[in-house]
Amino acid sequence: MKDEVASRKERAENLKGMGCSRKRVEDARFTQGKGNYVDDLKLDGMLFGDFVRSPYAHARITRIDTAAALEVPGVLAVLTAKDLEPLGLHWMPTLAGDKQMVLADGKVLFQGQEVAFVVAEDRYAAADGIEAVEVEYEELPVLVDPFEALTSDVVLREDTVDANGNPVDGAHGPRKHHNHIFTWEAGDKDPTAEVLANAEVVAEETMYYHRTHPCPLETCGCVASMDKVNGKLTLWGTFQAPHAIRTVVSLISGIEEHNIRVISPDIGGGFGNKVGAYPGYVCSVVASIVTGKPVKWIEDRMDNLMTTAFARDYWMKGRISATKDGKITGLHCHVTADHGGFDACADPTKFPAGFMNICTGSYDIPTAYLQVDGAYTNKAPGGVSYRCSFRVTEAVYFIERMIEVLAIELNMDAAELRRINFIKKEQFPYQAALGWEYDSGDYHTAWEKALKAVDYDGLRAEQAQRVEDFKAGKTRKLMGVGLSFFTEIVGAGPVKNCDILGLGMFDSCEIRIHPTGSAIARLGTISQGQGHATTFAQILASEIGLPADSITIEEGDTDTAPYGLGTYGSRSTPVAGAATAMAGRKIRAKAQMIAAYLMEVHDDDVEFDVDRFVVKGAPEKFKTMKEIAFAAYNQAIPGIEPGLEAVSYYDPPNMTYPFGAYVCVMDIDVDTGVTDIRRFYALDDCGTRINPMIIEGQVHGGLTEALAVALGQEIAYDDMGNVKTGTLMDFFLPTAWEVPNYETDYTVTPSPHHPIGAKGVGESPHVGGVPCFSNAVHDAFRAFGLRHTNMPHDHWRIWKTANELGLHG
């Protein structure tokens, strides 16, 4: 028996299945410079397209003259809205139910907007052509403030008003004003008002979650190639959702979907930037049809930061009520959401403010109400989920700041306030006041583990001493202890309430076992660095008993991969990972019948054992999965078709709800505003852990993006709508020098509805990290009366905070 156990363990280890830190199969090509990113693609006769962009944030276009540009050597064509209009392609639908100009149709709404598309033999000729296009603008009043936009007489979008100038309905209902996009509500308005009116304690705060940008190191781009002989269009690009792009291209171009092949090659990071459809894609396709040649379009960094898919820009006003001893009774949240010139966020259709209604967080709040109003301004369109599920970063920041403000109001320790209000383990599945059903959690255990790991009481004692020393003039450095406890909502999602442009948000996996016992599996998702080729093979190895090293994972080619909605919102593991397990189980079910036949016993008399089926009670009688695979193809088995393949389209019954507890210890130099992160502890509970090494890597990366957003990264505009942070000289991306070492930890609370219990982890550290860094800054100044100050907490703003608190003497 002992031998058998040992052998089982050894056999399991050989599979490199779930739970092991398998090294990544992607890395050989990347470390040798042999990745295949879209800009690496070179096709015969390929042309290069690039945009003439608007220098103004709001202007009427009175004239475009392309004649001189067409004389520039190497320039073949210049497209304007007039050329696209006969095709109906001068505007395109956004993923949020709005529409967006592909090329400026009479006016421009933000700086950097696409005005004309120059197609040339190479990028230098295209740049020369851009210089030669003459555009005359008539400047219009600029609105960069959403509150001003919602009261201004200036009509930004002519399609928002009728002939009499009255607002017409938008995609999500009536407009309150011509620059208003939608109102979205969740929860109970009147009961919440009543709770707040009668509460013992109420804390109020208004916070601005600034505009920022996902800024993957590789910008967006594509290559479109229309084969006029066969009528087939191939579109390579940096697409986080290749199948959705195929459907959208088909719908707007009229090309039948089977004649379109979309390929996402290696993608150099996405973080939400590469979910949407951009004018560059449409123009490249049209240019390829017009010229009959492949056309490449690649953003430069300024194009990327100024025009494609910003994130956040939420003004959030909160009121939270509690009893005197700290039990929260109600929460009210109002958001004014700045969407820029077009509503081009990428949320599920029924959720124009994403899952902002997860803003009751990890707390048992009986009554709550949320209202979000969207506004048009003269800023770039977007509103994507930057390393988070739809608007979850905003929601978690909101509640984790409100908790801190309430703690100040109650004169209570913020860790204790959280402890008092956490949803208890026995309350799961938990029905939240704003509509979600949390699948599983054990918040108290995670919290206690985190506080113990950092010696929370010791930190508070040290901090109190530091305040004394500061007051006594012995030090100029303050110390902040940042806390956050987050609950994410990921894995969109159940088709009954989640779709994008009517496309249900299921996902898929198709497996083919080869006769000699290796396999290929294809999925509807696409990796952008998460290591899908490594981890999905691990799921399969555990499910079907073939070594992960013998399983190829392929994604991103719509001609071969099954239909899926792609990778964003941490949906790959919760949805496609589930499809993978389910498809694997179909393989196993057929393998069981084959094994029983081969061993001449009844199907019910064999059972799966790591990498084989054994006769129950007689483990020496077995057929390995490798043997079964060969028999599946090469042995005539009565009543069973040859072959060993399976496909699963998985429609999840619920979202998954990863959670975590983070603590940041920070020293702040009051005289320079410089922050020093002395310690960062991150405990993540993502349910079943597939590959601990990759989980840790995701946590390190997500925390670093959180650090960036909290401490300096922003897309800032001046009053004229000029982007002030359009290059990496001004837009903060942390280097190795600014980033600390992180301590990672975990608990495991599996998702009860997911086939393998996994919840997803890629975005958790960003979601939980931003409030943790921000709370550390706030906490350092709590003893001196700071209640709230807006991010990003760069050195200058921190210095100003210290100055306003009178700490500079």
């Binding site: 090294k23 990544r24 992607e26 890395d27 050989a28 090509r29 990347f30 470390t31 040798q32 410079g33 042999k34 990745g35 990113y37 800009d39 690496d40 070179k42 520039v72 050597p73 190497g74 190479d122 990028r123 230098y124 000729a125 020369d128 800024c215 993957p216 190191l217 590789e218 910008t219 290696d266 993608i267 150099g268 990071g269 973080f271 430069d300 960094r301 952008q528 660095g529 998460q530 290591g531 090494m693 990759i694 840790e696 890597g697 390190h700 990366g701 997500g702 925390l703 670093t704 993006e705 290059t727 990496l728 000289m729 991306l733 280097t735 190795a736 020098w737 980033v739 070492n741 992180y742």
Partner: protein, 164 residues
């Protein structure tokens, strides 16, 4: 557009001669003219380091150097570091310690790290972080990159000692 000029550069040991406009940036010469696509473009302002190559023994960001400035120079890119059968210790270490995710910064990162370890074979963590600060990674948070470079340094020093 300006007059094309004659240039001669050596890339990964191979001499290349061609006509190009002087304004052509070296990164495009490498990627588009010579099909050396390991170095990438991330920012065009010398900040991100995805385009890092080694020129005459120094780390250079090839996105802000004109081909005219590179005339006659000896250039090494990621393609000239290690081979599929004999990876450079840094390439091995990045794989072993999960020092990369999307892979876009990796060629520049490893190319820079080869120089860092030549300049200082026994760097402290602080020296690694400072020495690598010209290369941005959006995925890893650097912790595993630092670890990879430390591991490669240890490996290279042990090999050197064994050889002596």
């Amino acid at each position: 557009m300006s007059q094309k000029q004659h240039y001669k550069i050596t890339v990964n040991g191979k001499e290349e001669e061609f006509l190009a406009e002087p304004r052509e940036l070296l990164i495009y010469t490498l990627r588009e003219r010579l099909n050396v696509t390991g170095p990438h473009i991330g920012c065009e302002t010398s900040h991100c380091g995805a385009c890092t190559v080694t020129i005459d023994g120094k780390s250079v960001k090839s996105c802000t150097m004109f081909v005219a400035q590179a005339d006659g120079k000896d250039i090494t890119t990621i393609e000239g570091i290690g081979s599929p059968d004999a990876l450079h210790p840094l390439q091995e270490a990045f794989k072993e310690h999960h020092g990369l995710q999307c892979g876009y910064c990796t060629p520049g990162m490893i190319t820079r790290a080869t120089k860092l370890l030549e300049e200082n074979p026994t760097p402290t963590e602080e020296e690694i972080r400072f020495g690598m600060a010209g290369n941005i990674c959006r995925c890893t948070g650097y912790q595993n990159i630092v670890k990879s470079i430390q591991a490669a340094a240890a490996e290279m020093n042990a090999a050197k000692e064994a050889a002596e």
